[in-house]
């Protein structure tokens, strides 16, 4: 009988010690993003000269943690967002959930607000579901900058990696070149409701009108899951034996499709292009499965977002069209319509230049 009682008391004690252990290790957690050693009173000549605020707390909130693309975009090591923030004398912290859903991301945003954020840099898991939270933040005077994936109408500035239209059209143009502007093509997208992909696909369809001998026979959804992306690609190959090209505007999709096409039977016979990171596609470029693909530099995207956030929070950037500013080593930028800043044109990776990149 007594052992039963002690068991009942032992549990909360063990739980308590677990919690204390968890909290005591918070100071040495590796991937909570680099918190600038110089917080508060840092001297940043660049910032001071430009009349920018320093010592602010800025939170970088990607769609999810544990995602290579965002790690490159955000961390100081790769010259991403936090590097820009630290150069300007702010404290930059990366935080988010792990599931790439609003339910997973919203608590991170709310916690950042609670922790006294001056600015938030967010890649939105959903274009509308975050709006109540982001609007609440802006009402409290917090600057909200979105990057990579927008929440239109609910932020001060949006840093777009390239013009949505250009991302779509460049992929079609790259593919058209490889298949002599003739033949059936298909698209392997992400999830059915992915806003970015759907927007790009819209522009792809428009651009296809320029190539009357090319026909889009199917759009399938890989759900950003390697198994599904593989199966939908395989399904395409059987359903359309005359398929000449595939566009996959998602890094998971293009890597999976490349793995499927990387056999003597399909390599070179079916052209593959889309959006991918150089590291994940180096093998396929070197063996000819992919000739060219498109992306941008995520670290530059993050860096620009970092600058924009600081400028906006210091009152130097209000997102009105035509406003121009300088983003450190990236040079000068001008705000376009809908408070959007374009990083630049999409970058075409080829066998010739791919080895220069390490992300």
């Amino acid at each position: 009988m007594q052992l039963r009682q002690t068991a009942g008391l032992a549990v909360p004690l063990v739980l308590a010690s677990l919690l204390l252990a968890a909290c005591s290790s918070s100071s040495s957690s590796p991937s909570s993003g680099s918190t600038a050693a110089t917080s508060g009173t840092s001297s940043s000549p660049a910032a001071a000269a430009a009349g920018l605020k320093t010592g602010m707390k800025v939170f970088v909130i990607p769609k999810n943690l544990g995602n290579n693309y965002f790690t490159t975009a955000d961390s100081a090591k790769t010259d991403g967002a936090i590097a820009a923030l630290e150069a300007l004398g702010e404290t930059g912290t990366e935080t988010s959930g792990t599931a790439a859903t609003p339910a997973s991301q919203i608590p991170a945003i709310q916690a950042a607000i609670s922790k006294g954020a001056n600015a938030l840099i967010v890649s939105a898991t959903d274009p509308t579901a975050l709006c109540p939270t982001l609007n609440a933040a802006m009402k409290r005077g917090i600057t909200v900058v979105t990057y990579d994936s927008d929440a239109p109408g609910c932020r001060d500035v949006f840093i777009n990696q390239a013009s949505t239209a250009q991302i779509g059209t460049s992929e079609v143009d790259v593919l058209a070149k490889q298949i002599n502007q003739t033949g059936d093509i298909a698209i392997v997208s992400a999830t059915a409701s992915a806003t970015n992909q759907n927007a790009w696909i819209g522009y792809m369809k428009q651009e296809l009108k320029k190539y009357p001998k090319m026909k889009l026979v199917s759009t399938v959804y890989g759900n950003d899951d390697p198994t599904t992306a593989t199966q939908v690609t395989q399904g395409l190959l059987q359903q359309y034996p005359n398929l000449k090209g595939i566009i996959s505007p998602t890094t998971v999709g293009i890597a999976a499709a490349a793995a499927v096409l990387d056999t003597p039977k399909y390599r070179g016979k079916i052209a593959l292009t889309g959006l991918g990171t150089p590291d994940s596609l180096k093998k396929y470029v070197s063996d000819g499965t992919i000739k060219e693909f498109v992306l941008w530099k995520p670290n530059d995207l993050g860096y620009l977002a970092g600058y924009a956030a600081v400028l906006a929070a210091s009152g130097k950037l209000d997102g009105s069209q035509g406003q121009s500013f300088t983003a450190g080593k990236l040079g000068s930028y001008t705000v376009g319509a809908d408070k959007t800043v374009l990083l630049g044109p999409p970058f075409v990776f080829t066998a010739a230049n791919i080895n220069q990149f390490n992300f």
Binding site: N67, T227, Q238, S280, K282
Partner: protein, 349 residues
């Protein structure tokens, strides 16, 4: 423990005479052939609409896609037969896939068999943890493996962070493994079929394997009958983990790009395959071959849906309906079987 595995293959006395035993054997065969019939029907219907479904490349695709899930289904079957569940298989696969594949990047010229061994070891460790907690702690495995699902995935995320293993860091020979064929049949499909056969033989013909069924049918009676329940369950979980570890390495070879999300959500898919394959969710009956066939059937259905170009928005609903159908069919067969056994038993007494 090793002695238990290679114990004499003497068959224990059947519940109500050899007649009942033959009947249960026949029931296994019926269930398995039932799945084969459904599979053949399905393939026939699909091929009649889209003949390219049956061309050699697509068959190879389906077989290769099935291998990982067939392996996971084998491990899960052993656990479910004993009236337990292993929900952590997806997390174990993900952990093993990343860690074993990352060995290549760090050490050029790393031998491929060692990577498989590493995956086996990682899975074994995870399975051991599960086994100890369930067997020694006598706690419900559903809860334990739900917890380890979170814990192993959390460890995976901590280790991997935002990194990923890319195809470029893996030796070509490794990536070629899923593509190698012998007489048109993918080599890994043959290998996995052999493993399934070994597993099925163990469950059917070794005393320790058959004891898993007894434990699943009635754990109390099994214990009273002298079966070392704790030990058997421990081994089942350890083997399930080890198999998931090997499946992880195979996964890495198939996809080439591995990050911290590998294997997410696989547990429900594996349980679906096992249930479709005729393994009773309450334990005590089912076969490894059936479960593997279940995995094959689900893979085939996937492929068929995509090859036929059925609107992708209908996939999930169709899957769910097929799963419900399979469960209902199972129940129907098992009710008939129980009735037949009972009347057979009454006649013999």
């Amino acid at each position: 423990m090793s002695t238990a595995l290679v114990s004499q293959s003497e068959r224990p006395p059947a519940p109500a005479g050899t007649g009942a035993r033959k009947l249960t054997e026949r029931a296994f065969r019926i269930r398995e052939s039932g799945i084969i019939v459904v599979l053949v029907l399905f393939v026939a219907v699909t091929a009649s609409i889209q003949p390219r479904f049956l061309n050699i490349t697509n068959i190879q695709f389906i077989l290769v896609n099935t291998t990982v899930f067939a392996l996971l289904a084998l491990g899960e079957t052993m656990v479910v037969i004993s009236r337990n569940y292993d929900l952590s298989v997806g997390s174990v696969l993900g952990l093993s896939a990343y860690l074993s594949a990352s060995l290549f990047g760090g050490h050029p010229g790393f031998p491929i068999p060692l990577a498989f061994l590493a995956g086996l070891g990682i899975g074994l460790g995870c399975g051991l943890a599960n086994g100890v907690m369930v067997a020694a702690g006598r706690v419900p495995s559903l809860v334990v493996t739900l917890a380890t699902l979170y814990i192993f995935r959390g460890i995976d995320i901590l280790i991997v962070g935002g990194k990923e293993v890319v195809a470029n860091s893996l030796p070509s020979a490794f990536l070629e493994i899923p593509k190698a064929t012998v007489l048109g049949i993918p080599v890994i499909a043959i290998a996995v079929a052999v493993v399934i056969a070994i597993g099925a033989y163990y469950l059917r013909s070794y005393r320790s394997g058959r004891e898993l069924y007894a434990i699943g049918s009635n754990p109390d009676a099994a214990r009273l009958a002298g079966i070392p329940v704790g030990r058997r369950v421990f081994v089942a979980f350890t083997v399930s983990g080890a198999i998931a570890g090997v499946a992880g390495v195979l996964w890495a070879a198939q996809y080439g790009t591995i990050d911290s999300t590998a294997g997410t959500g696989y547990e429900l898919q594996v349980i679906s395959a096992v249930v479709v394959g005729g393994v009773a969710i309450f334990g005590g009956s089912g076969s490894a071959v059936g479960a593997a066939l279940g995995a094959l059937l689900l893979s085939t259905i996937s492929s068929a849906l995509y090859v036929l170009g059925i609107s992708p928005f209908w996939d999930q609903a169709i899957f769910g309906l097929l799963l419900l159908l399979a469960i209902t069919l199972d129940r129907f067969i098992s009710v008939r079987l129980t009735a037949a056994l009972r009347s057979r038993g009454a006649r013999h007494e």
